[in-house]
Amino acid sequence: MALQRSGPETVEFDVHTDELLVNMGPQHPSTHGVLRVVVRADGEVVSEVTPQIGYLHRCAEKIGENVTPRQWIPYTDRMDYLAGMNMNLGWALTVEKLLRMELPERARHLRVLIAELGRIASHLVAAGTYGLDLGSFTPFMYCFRERERILDLFELVCGARLTYSYITIGGVTADLPPGWLEECEAFLDQFNPVIDELHAMLTSNAIFIRRTAKIGVLAPEVAIDYGCTGPVLRGSGVSWDLRRDGEPCYTKMYEGYRFEVIAQVDGRYPQDQKYPPVPAAAVLGDSWHRFYVRMLEVVQSVGLVRQAIERYRRSPPDCGEPIRITQKLPKGEAYLETEAPKGQMGFMVISDGAAIPWRARARSSSFCNLSVISELCRGCLIADVPSVLGSLDIVLGEIDR
């Protein structure tokens, strides 16, 4: 019998007998990029999930040691390529922190405006692909239709739809074109009913609730231990948002803005809008809550964009002067985390006084958020792996860099 034999054949046989070792990815429809998840499954029940990363590694940090900060901005675009604007912002703020730059009023509001639009665009992708992960194709199209409108707006601003390099150190590359604000307002006006549509198709759909409630429950302590941030952390009921709780050189950007940090505190979400109720089946920290937090954050962002438009209109027409590409950096280091759509995106710059940083470093939120998956997927079904993975909303460009 083959059973008595030793060697690699037996190993293969043994794995086959009891447990199936399957590779989800790197070419798999629901790994959101080139992620490989090694799933050890006994029938349909998953016993172990190991994410394997690195397929999208592009030496971004090493490149950062060979180009000037402004030259590195296009590389930050390619980290979270679904929210390039927010990546630009993170790096720009970090270098500005090092340079101790003060920005004019208009640039500040413009940045809020653009960053929150970027957040909406990113959360739309998260919601749409999450529907796709659960087998519902149509919300994906709806989300991307709206995202396209945002991308149109971005295209008007900077000429690019994916890799913008728009927000730059010392301000932005160019002020808004004439008529842009009106178009943005038109977008926001038609966007509200779409949110309700998405709530109807996903958030409050009975099958969606069955697929997400009590799946991948992430306890707040575990989330903090693993360094989860962003909607993943807030989905576990931790009210933590760098826009409110971050360093002053980041939070002063949001000074005077009204917005709620979306997290379930004391059993309830902030109710400044009409939302579908939390289903009885859902427990705090499960996939449903993570999704819900994102959906509510979209509404907050819409409010922020409206406020920013108003303030931008009232501000004097000066949106800052970008630093020269070859500008020398002061000796020292600066680290700043910003609230990117997917979590806290941290950038670090260490300078020895030259124009080119001695070290450029990025801290990815998706990386920490992904690391928790082996914790969440233990004992779930194969079908739940995409459900959990989708709810974490990772982007591989940021993890692998």
């Binding site: 798999h28 629901s30 087998g135 996903l202 099958i207 079904l381």
Partner: protein, 360 residues
């Protein structure tokens, strides 16, 4: 036809030719249905998703999209994975397709317009619909891929639990009509809308929806398309298939979708009888004359095709609206909800027909 040919060629050749032509007609019917459904699916999906769907191929509405798709599939390379069981891998799509085509044998399109009037046609259709699964299981196993195997296992589990409520639901109209002959069941619902079995009593009304659920599950359509769940199992049992063989599976799926909604139409929705007895008003009945009967049947066929397409449309609507269930949830739906509901409906319908044999 054989009678006509007999005068020209030897008898056996005449019969064989006639048989071949008839068989070809059935297959063509199945293929036509698949092609139309394919186009319809794209259009429906497009409209639901706020886009246009195919618009270029063959004119404004992309009528020829299915043909273009077919050509594309034919031109694709037909890959067989190295670890596959080559014979079974090749045979599996045809098992499914043959089963799907055989379904059309017993499906009447109008009064007496059926290839083979079986007196246990309901039974035959349910049985052959179950056969289709076999192809899926074979494909899943023979592909030599773990994803395919997962798909096949799911399919097997799903089907075993699904056929029971489906058969129970089909039993109720059979019991009321007192026949398993689809033609007879259809003819029994002649006349007004109220004669349709779905409106026979509250229990049949309930049964109709249970049947619909099980029917969607039995043809592997979303939200029960677990065997091919693309976000979990890549493409389930179809992962390793490409080109023509994949197309064969695809056609089998649409062909059986159509039949299963045709079965629903005959069992519950009056079959070829419209909501109002137009054919009777126009005098298109059998006792008027052969031409009138033919015209009446033609009207009935249009009616029937309309109802089948309606069923298919509902399935598409579901697919593009709902997320997918999980395998244990599918089993729960079948075993915990559908079977008891169907059983209650069966007993209830039995009681109803016993109390009010004439109906109300």
């Amino acid at each position: 036809m054989a009678e006509l040919l007999k005068s020209f060629v030897p008898v056996w050749l005449a019969y064989s030719t006639a048989a071949a032509v008839n068989a070809a007609l059935l297959v063509v019917l199945a293929l036509m249905v698949a092609a139309v459904c394919n186009w319809l699916e794209r259009k429906v999906a497009g409209r639901i998703q706020d886009r246009l769907g195919p618009t270029r191929v063959g004119g404004r509405f992309g009528w020829l999209q299915s043909v273009a798709d077919g050509l594309k599939l034919l031109a694709k390379e037909d890959l067989i994975p190295q670890g596959a069981d080559r014979l079974l891998f090749r045979a599996a799509p045809y098992v499914s397709f043959c089963a799907a085509c055989s379904l059309y044998l017993a499906l009447p399109l109008a009064d007496g317009w059926v290839a083979l009037q079986l007196n246990s046609a309901v039974f035959f259709i349910l049985a052959v619909a179950g056969l289709e699964v076999l192809g899926v299981i074979l494909a899943g196993y023979a592909s030599g891929s773990k994803w395919s195997l997962f798909g096949a296992m799911r399919e097997a589990a799903q089907v075993v639990s699904n056929e029971i409520p489906l058969a129970l639901c089909a039993l109720i109209p059979v019991m009321i009509a007192g026949s398993m002959d689809l033609v007879e069941i259809g003819n029994r619902q002649e006349g007004w809308l109220t004669n349709w079995l779905v409106f026979h009593d509250p229990f049949t009304f309930l049964t109709f929806f249970v049947y619909l659920t099980c029917a969607v599950a039995s043809v592997n359509r979303a939200p029960f398309d677990l065997a091919e769940a693309e976000s979990e199992l890549v493409a389930g049992f179809m992962t390793e298939y490409s080109g023509f063989r994949w197309g064969v599976f695809f056609m089998a799926e649409y062909a059986s979708m159509f039949v299963i909604s045709g079965l629903a139409a005959i069992l519950f929705l009056g079959g070829w009888n419209g909501p109002v007895p137009i054919a009777q008003w126009l005098g298109l009945t059998r006792d008027v004359g052969p031409l009138a009967a033919w015209l009446g049947n033609f009207l009935g066929m249009c009616n029937m095709l309309l109802k089948c397409s309606l069923g298919v449309l509902v399935m598409m609507w579901l697919r593009w609206t709902l997320p997918r269930l999980r395998i244990d949830q599918v089993m729960t739906v079948c075993l915990r909800y559908c079977i008891p509901l169907a059983a209650v409906a069966l007993l209830g319908a039995m009681w109803w027909t016993y109390m009010w044999p004439g109906g109300w």
